[in-house]
Symmetry: C2
Subunit: 463 residues, 2 copies
């Protein structure tokens, strides 16, 4: 068993919760990776199982199946009834949920430490023995359709995001929404979900993260008892996904919707992601995002567009780097009333050009790093967040050391690193989107999108 001092604790000798943490990891014989994060501050435990499979692993034509399966995981097993899982968690005073992304699907419960073993028993059961009937999956399909209606289709910004990603990725399934295209979700059936389960779920494609007031040796013993009894799934193979081709064009997306209150523009680049053992490029992009768009008062875009020129209500820059495949880097500007998107876009481009020409203010870089450090400390001040960071990291191909070292990687970024990352990034082809208020007679998204579903399911089923 390797024991690793938690993120940043030694590197920066900060006081506070981080120093008390210990992160250890081991692998069970059936391939299940286990990460234990000790945090004795409160007598709770988090039991998280992460499957290294997500929406980007779906077969073509069945978009949404990873998320649909996530819902169906609450529908019972060979020995447990539909809904029993959640009832037990609730009865025992715990809270649970699940989430699906492009690269992973996660399930967790937060509960009193002495109930941890029960959670493991339940979670290990559905790792192997999922079972559901027509009465379970048919109404659940309406639930996910309803979820798409609520979370995506009733929000023009989310629809716009889908259009941007579908345009940004020419070949990679990151261009397909995690929740799925409605047209395909409607056709999903039980065997699609069960095939996906049988092909991707199993201890040899999963990570267990346990965090809280727990003893690593006890966690190991419990994990071996429950998860260790689940046989390896021989159907699981290496991920092999379509990769992005060389992109030779800039692209643009214009979407008009009568529900848009405030028009805005976004620009996306495909960028390098965090790579195991070499996170320096990604760290530079993370610092760049913070520098360009981190805070209205001090960021490059904020100062120029919101304060000096008063063209923008809001600006942002973001880097989504923890991906199995390519990462994305984004810029956004919300112009003030009376400023056209074209004008805001030209101003944004000028700010970026000036930034590339002028370089970085050393003092500002230090401020950014201090803020990033503060963010890390804030994020780390919850066993659940720490568990989530390790879960995400290990799900996308990073290891415990990479996750542990990420804050240090951010602190090690130099001005030259940031400028090199910026020059590489801004020379890349990109996608620019304008989200606008519908003005003309053309059908807009609000007209075209079908909302919700016929059969409203029991809201308690929704997870």
């Amino acid at each position: 068993m390797r024991r690793l001092l938690a993120a940043g604790a030694c590197a920066l000798a900060l006081s506070g919760p981080l120093a008390a943490d210990e992160v250890s990891s081991f692998t069970l014989d059936n391939g299940l990776e286990v990460v234990v994060i000790e945090d004795p501050r409160a007598d709770i435990a988090v039991n998280m199982v992460w499957y290294k499979v997500g929406a980007a692993d779906e077969p073509p034509g069945v978009s949404g199946i990873a998320h649909f399966l996530e819902h169906l995981m609450f529908k019972g097993t060979e020995t447990r009834e539909a809904g029993e899982f959640s009832e037990i968690v609730e009865r025992e005073g715990g809270r649970g949920n699940a989430f699906t992304s492009w690269d992973y699907t996660g399930y967790f419960q937060r509960i009193a430490s002495d109930r941890l073993e029960l959670m493991m028993e339940l979670e290990a059961d559905r790792m192997e023995n999922l079972a559901f009937t027509d009465d379970d999956w048919l109404p659940e399909r309406d639930v996910i359709l309803e979820e798409r209606g609520q979370v995506v289709e009733s929000r023009p910004g989310r629809l716009f995001g889908e259009q941007l990603y579908a345009t940004l990725f020419q070949n990679h399934p990151y261009g397909i929404p995690i929740i799925g295209w409605r047209e395909e979700m409607r056709e999903l059936i039980d065997t699609d979900a069960m095939d996906f389960y049988e092909r991707h779920y199993g201890p040899n494609n999963a990570i267990l993260v346990v965090a809280g007031n727990v003893d690593p040796d006890e966690v190991r013993a419990m994990a071996e008892r429950h998860y260790g009894a689940v046989p390896e799934n021989p159907a699981i193979t290496e991920r092999r996904r379509p990769q992005e081709p060389l992109v030779v064009s800039d692209r643009r997306v214009k979407m008009s919707d009568s529900r848009v209150g405030q028009p805005y523009l976004m620009r996306y680049y495909v960028a390098p992601s965090r790579a195991s053992g070499d996170q320096s490029g990604a760290a530079a992009l993370q610092v760049l995002a913070e520098l360009l768009g981190g805070s209205a008062e001090t960021s490059v875009l904020g100062r120029a567009l919101q304060f000096d020129e008063r063209l923008a209500l809001q600006t942002a820059a973001f880097y989504r780097g923890a991906n199995v495949d390519d990462a994305t880097f984004g810029l956004a500007v919300v112009p003030v009333d009376g400023v056209e998107l074209a004008e805001a876009e030209a101003a944004m481009e000028e700010v970026i050009a000036d930034f590339l020409a002028d370089g970085i203010d050393a003092e500002q870089l230090e401020r950014i790093k201090t803020r990033l450090r503060a963010n890390e400390i804030y994020d780390m001040d919850s066993a659940q967040n720490r568990a989530r960071q390790y879960g995400v990291g290990l799900s996308v191909g990073l290891d415990v050391a990479d996750v542990r070292d990420w804050p240090d990687a951010l602190q090690a970024v130099t001005a030259d690193d940031v400028m090199a990352a910026a020059r590489d990034l801004f020379a890349r082809h990109h996608v620019t989107g304008w989200l606008m208020q519908a003005e003309d007679d053309r059908p807009d998204a609000a007209d075209q999108v079908e909302y919700g579903v016929e059969d409203q399911a029991d809201p308690d089923d929704f997870r």
Copy 2:
């Protein structure tokens, strides 16, 4: 055996080659559909086998495999050496080739009628017994990479077309180039091709079209002897492809390339395709394309932009309707020197708006129909073209009657049909592309694309 009088021969009582044709069709016990087109004018025969599988049926991540397999089909069988197929065709005075599209893959030989049976023997052999070695497939992969270099990457217009399609289709594999993305083609291996062959090739997924100076009864006897001996392939299943979601945005593609001589713009719409038993909507779109962009002197775009306003060197409108799934409709304008693409685009939009407001000149519609009729006659004046039309049609889910009736469907289009099709089409979201000469320092397609391959293969292998 149904005998169908050939296209248009009865409907319009035209004299000429069409009236002499007879088209008959039948299906062998193993599922092979056979179409025989009698054309006694020259003593040749065309033997064409169409597989109802193409690039849009490829598994994700192995783009180009349909086309790679098409090449490997010339690499021998269990009893024939690599290259033997082509040698025999050549020795017997025939000419052969093959082609791959999104929806189908076709193989054909044109040869003296008395050699038809030999061609059938060869083609039936490779329908069942394909075999190739590492010495065959490895160099052939270089051949297809070289083909991509020559046909796509050395032509900015083709690269531009790829970018447009990748942007137009958000979910459907029509957005992936038929020849494949270079990054994926490079990784294709023998088992990818063999898996594709085993899953999709067989008499129950194929159409045989024989055209020329042949007797249908003799063709049937020969087809039964050779193709009839190939067993049904039980691995073949119904096509199930990702479909396009509701699109809620307009998109734009800008590509700059130092090799561009003449900048131009294109606009693409996703449109309805020809549907079996109901081709009227598609026929209206075909007439619309001819009306808008058919000839420089008389088309709506040509007259307005080339002659009246003198803004354009060239204009075009095109409809690609014979697809399994969605069709595409395109517009193109090549501005004269000194006219910006933005200006040309605005002018094009104005012409379309005027067209939608003014409607159609009845006389012009009649002229268009006469020209379409003439085109059909011209196209039909070759056994090979007729065979191709039936092959395409049957490959994409149309039947013999649909192919036969298409010219009549075009003639039946009314002015109201065209305007209704135009109103529907131009209300749809679209993709607009600008292909420009590279002016600035940003890397352009010419810089980024890698040309050709290391090992130049024997040019004789190229098919």
